[in-house]
C-alpha cells in the first residue's frame, strides 16, 4: 500500500528555528530521507512553502470559490509530505514516527486510494 505522511508543524516555531538548531534539524531530515530510500519505502517527498502562500479551492453549486490561506485554521500547518510504500498501517506509522517533526508537530498518515482495488 502507499501512504501519504503529512507533516504538520507550527510555522511560527519553524521560522524561529535558525542557525545551528536549524542545521541539526535538517540533518535529521537528510538522514531520515536517506534511510527510507535505502529501505525502498520512499516514493516522493517535498517540503511546502508556508501556509501564507496557500490557496484553498472549493466548488459549491457549480461555482468555484477560491480563498486565500489553508483549508483549516489550526495551530499546526501542513509543512511537507512523504509518499511512502508500506506493507500495512503499522509499517507506515513506524516510518512516520521517525520523521523529525513527529517529535514537535503531527504527522498525519493517510492511505492512498487505490482505484483499481476500490469496488
Amino acid at each position: 500500500m502507499q501512504y501519504l505522511l503529512l507533516i504538520y508543524e507550527n510555522e511560527a516555531k519553524r521560522e524561529a528555528r535558525v542557525g545551528e538548531e536549524q542545521a541539526a534539524y535538517m540533518a535529521g531530515y537528510h538522514q531520515f530521507t536517506k534511510d527510507i530510500i535505502a529501505a525502498g519505502a520512499f516514493r516522493a517527498g517535498d517540503a511546502l512553502h508556508p501556509t501564507s502562500t496557500a490557496t484553498s479551492v472549493r466548488v459549491r453549486d457549480g461555482e468555484t470559490l477560491v480563498t486565500d490561506g489553508p483549508f483549516a485554521e489550526t495551530r499546526e500547518q501542513l509543512g511537507g509530505y512523504y509518499l511512502v510504500e508500506a506493507e500495512d498501517l503499522d509499517q507506515a506509522i513506524d516510518i512516520a514516527r521517525r520523521i523529525p517533526t513527529a517529535s514537535c508537530g503531527t504527522i498525519e498518515v493517510r492511505p492512498i486510494m487505490d482505484y483499481a482495488k476500490a469496488t
Partner: protein, 425 residues
C-alpha cells in the same frame, strides 16, 4: 421481532458461542478483511435460518456455518475475479473450487481455535489507530458476537450511533491497511491498555448481560478469562494484565451463584458461598499476589483486591467493608469514575450505615454518564429503604425501573418496589 423458532434459537446460540472462532477462520481466509468476512457470516446466518427451519438443525452447526460461509466467500471471490483482475486474493484454502471435505473444515476450525488466531483478530479490533470506543465496539461485535443494540446499551450510547461507529471502524481497518497480525512483542505493551479495556467489557457483558433474560452469559466470561490468560502469558511482568486476569477470575468464581433457579439475580450477600469456585479463587488470589509484586497497583489490580476481600469472607457478615470502602477511595484516585464513586458509596453504607452512603450518592446526580443508567436510582432506593424512607425509596425504585434493560435486575427492583409500597407485608 420474528417469533422464536428452534432454528433461530440454535442459530443465535451457535453464533454467540462460536463467533470469535468463525470470524477468525473467515478473517484469515479474507486476509483480514473483516467486512468481507462478516458479510459472508451474515449471509450464512440468513441461509441457516431458512434451511435449518425447513430441514432441521444440522448435527454440527458450527461446521455447517463455516462450510457455507467459506462457500459464500468463494462465490463472491469468483464473481469479482471475473470482473476485476485486481480482486484481492483469498488464502489458498479458499482458492480451491471444490467443496471442502469434513476433514478440511475440521482443520480450519482447529486453526481458528489456536490462541494466536483469535489474538490476531483481537489485535486488529484493538488497533490504536482506531478510537478506543471503536475498538470496544468492534471487539464486542466481531470477537464477542454481540448485537449492535446490546453493545449500544453496554456503552451507554444510542443504537444508530453505535451502528455507525462499527461500520466506520471496519472501513478504517480495510482502507487504512490495519494489519491482521499479532504485533511484535516490543509493541505489545502499547496495545495492552486498549485490549484490556475491551476484554473487561466483554467479561462484564458475560457477567451481567445488558439485555434479555440471560443474567449470566457464561461463555463470554470464559472467553474473556481465556484471552486474559493469553495476554498474561505474553506479558508476565505487566501488573495490570495480571490484575485484570485476577479480577476476572475472582468475579468468575461467583458467577454460578449470581442467579437462582428461576434466573433471578442473587445479591452478593445472599449468595451461597459454598458454591463459589475455590479453584478460581485460588488462581485469582495467586495472580493478584503476582500482580502486586509488579509495582504500584493500577485500577484493575485494585479492583481485584476489592474482589479478594469478598472472596476471603466465608460468610457475608465477615466482609471487611471498611477495607473495601478504602480500596474504592484509592481506586477513585487512581482512575476517577462516577461508577467507582457509586460503588464506593455503597461500600461506605455497608461500613458506616446507609446515611453515609446516601451522602456520597448525592453529588453523582450531576454525572451525565449516569443519566441513562438505572444504577444510581437503584442504589439510592436500597439505602432509602434501609432508612425506612419508603416514599422516596419507591420513587427512586420507579426511576430505576424506567431505565433498567435486564430482566433479572428488573425483577429485583420490582420486588423492592413492593417492599417500599407495602412495608408491612
Amino acid at each position: 421481532m420474528p417469533p422464536p423458532s428452534p432454528a433461530a434459537d440454535a442459530l443465535t446460540r451457535t453464533l454467540r458461542e462460536h463467533h470469535a472462532t468463525l470470524m477468525a477462520a473467515l478473517g484469515r481466509a479474507t486476509r483480514g478483511d473483516l467486512i468481507l468476512a462478516e458479510d459472508a457470516l451474515q449471509q450464512t446466518a440468513l441461509a441457516a435460518l431458512e434451511q435449518w427451519g425447513d430441514q432441521g438443525v444440522p448435527d454440527r452447526p458450527v461446521h455447517w456455518l463455516l462450510r457455507v460461509g467459506r462457500n459464500k466467500l468463494h462465490d463472491r471471490h469468483r464473481r469479482s475475479a471475473t470482473h476485476d483482475r485486481h480482486a484481492p486474493a483469498l488464502t489458498d484454502q479458499l482458492d480451491q473450487p471444490q467443496a471442502p471435505s469434513e476433514q478440511a473444515l475440521a482443520q480450519m476450525l482447529d486453526d481458528a481455535t489456536i490462541p494466536d488466531e483469535r489474538l490476531r483478530l483481537l489485535c486488529a479490533c484493538c488497533h490504536p489507530a482506531l478510537a478506543l470506543e471503536a475498538r470496544v465496539a468492534l471487539t464486542l461485535r466481531v470477537v464477542g458476537g454481540l448485537t449492535t443494540d446490546e453493545i449500544a446499551r453496554l456503552c451507554l450510547v444510542e443504537p444508530p450511533t453505535m451502528a455507525q461507529r462499527i461500520v466506520r471502524a471496519k472501513r478504517k481497518i480495510r482502507d487504512a491497511g490495519v494489519p491482521y497480525a499479532v504485533p511484535p512483542i516490543a509493541e505489545l505493551p502499547a496495545r495492552v491498555a486498549g485490549v484490556m479495556h475491551v476484554l473487561y467489557l466483554i467479561f462484564t457483558e458475560g457477567y451481567a448481560a445488558s439485555g434479555g433474560d440471560r443474567q449470566v452469559r457464561g461463555e463470554l466470561c470464559t472467553e474473556a478469562v481465556r484471552l486474559g490468560a493469553i495476554l498474561a502469558d505474553l506479558l508476565p511482568t505487566d501488573g495490570e494484565v495480571l490484575g485484570l486476569l485476577s479480577l476476572m477470575l475472582l468475579q468468575d468464581a461467583r458467577r454460578h451463584t449470581r442467579t437462582d433457579a428461576d434466573g433471578g439475580l442473587v445479591l452478593l450477600e445472599d449468595q451461597d458461598r459454598q458454591r463459589w469456585s475455590r479453584r478460581k479463587i485460588v488462581a485469582g488470589m495467586d495472580t493478584l499476589g503476582a500482580a502486586l509484586k509488579c509495582g504500584p497497583p493500577g485500577p484493575y489490580t485494585l479492583q481485584a483486591a476489592i474482589a479478594s476481600v469478598h472472596a476471603r469472607a466465608l460468610r457475608a457478615s465477615d466482609t471487611d467493608w471498611h477495607e473495601i470502602a478504602l480500596l474504592y477511595d484509592i481506586l477513585d484516585k487512581a482512575s476517577p469514575s462516577p461508577i467507582v464513586r457509586l460503588n464506593g458509596a455503597v461500600a461506605w453504607a455497608m461500613a458506616e450505615g446507609p446515611a453515609s452512603g446516601l451522602r456520597r450518592l448525592d453529588p453523582l446526580d450531576t454525572e451525565p454518564s449516569l443519566h441513562r443508567s438505572h444504577l444510581l436510582p437503584a442504589a439510592r432506593s436500597a439505602l432509602l429503604l434501609q432508612m425506612n424512607r419508603h416514599a422516596e425509596a419507591a420513587a427512586a425504585c420507579q426511576e430505576a425501573l424506567e431505565r433498567v434493560g435486564n430482566a433479572p435486575e428488573r425483577r429485583l427492583l420490582e420486588a423492592r418496589l413492593q417492599q417500599c409500597l407495602y412495608p408491612g407485608s
